[in-house]
């Protein structure tokens, strides 16, 4: 199975910081470009994302921070402009990315299909948010 490509699109330096942190846990994170929305209009951000995902002939994942933000909306618009879903694969925008999800992507990008991986990341993100109340010793 071929590798599912991904693009990190996030506010300010968050994408680069997440990738750096993932590298501390996973090791070198190759083939994972990062885009920041900083200083970009909607049109410019869409164009920048489209330039990255246009070559994904078998689909891939646009990994973004929060639902409703410019990274999410521009990711959707760029994916749609690039065909969105093709016979060979689909571009899926994933919101709410956190470090456990990014690590799960890195561990599974070579053995899952695009949609399967996207759904796996969604579940991983949900499972990774837990509450643990601590009583005094």
């Amino acid at each position: 199975m071929s590798r599912v490509p991904a693009l990190l699109v996030m506010h300010a330096d968050l994408g680069a910081a997440l990738l750096h942190a993932a590298g501390q846990v996973y090791g070198p994170c190759e083939d994972l470009p990062v885009l920041s929305n900083e200083g970009l209009s909607r049109a410019a951000l869409e164009h920048a994302i489209a330039g990255k995902v246009a070559g994904w002939s078998a689909g891939g994942l646009v990994l973004t921070d929060f639902w409703g933000g410019s990274c999410h909306l521009c990711g959707l618009a760029a994916a749609r402009a690039c065909g969105g879903a093709t016979a060979a694969g689909e571009i899926v925008v994933v919101t709410g990315l956190n470090l456990p999800m990014l690590l799960d992507y890195l561990h599974n990008r070579d053995r899952c299909a695009v949609v399967e991986l996207a759904e796996r990341l969604q579940l991983k993100g949900q499972e990774s948010v837990r509450l643990q109340r601590c009583q005094p010793a």
């Binding site: 970009l40 639902w67 409703g68 933000g69 410019s70 909306l73 959707l76 749609r80």
Partner: protein, 161 residues
């Protein structure tokens, strides 16, 4: 209550709108005034999905001008967002008596010069700004509620009438 903010932002609905201003003011409705978006069903659906908890209305300039007065007295708060100063000016010239616009994000593009970190203007933008100010419409620069609003004319003398 109705109109809470009239914003000029080339990103239309995005994080600063739904997270920063939205959490502070909790609008019942968000009006996106943009002829191109209003003519595109997919774009309307995209924008409508972006703001949980508020009804999103994507309308043309003419539709917004016609609905502005009724919205002003409607229950609940409302945001109005235009993508650029040309649309803000068109809205005023179409008859909507908007008292002020907040410039929240007009990002760099070739030919535009920097006013601050999130506002860049070209000659056409400045002409629109002067026209708006000459009609008595206040223009303030402020991206999020926590930042200090500043008048555009004080930051950019080329925009002053």
């Amino acid at each position: 209550m109705s109109w809470q903010i009239h914003r000029v932002d080339d990103r239309l609905i995005h994080g600063q709108v739904v997270i920063a201003w939205g959490a502070r003011l909790r609008p019942a409705r968000i009006w996106v005034v943009d002829d191109a978006s209003a003519a595109n069903p997919w774009e309307r659906e995209l924008l409508a999905s972006a703001a949980a908890g508020a009804e999103v209305r994507v309308v043309t300039v003419a539709e917004a001008a016609a609905a502005w007065a009724a919205e002003a007295t409607a229950p609940g708060g409302a945001f109005l967002i235009v993508p650029d100063l040309a649309t803000a000016r068109a809205l005023i010239e179409a008859g909507a008596p908007v008292p002020s616009f907040t410039l929240g994000g007009l990002h760099y593009a070739p030919g535009k010069t920097k006013v601050n970190e999130y506002v860049y203007l070209d000659a056409d933008d400045r002409a629109d700004a002067r026209a708006l100010l000459a009609r008595g419409v206040a223009l303030e620069v402020q991206d999020v509620p926590a930042s200090r609003p500043q008048s555009l004319a004080s930051l950019d003398p080329g925009s002053a009438p």
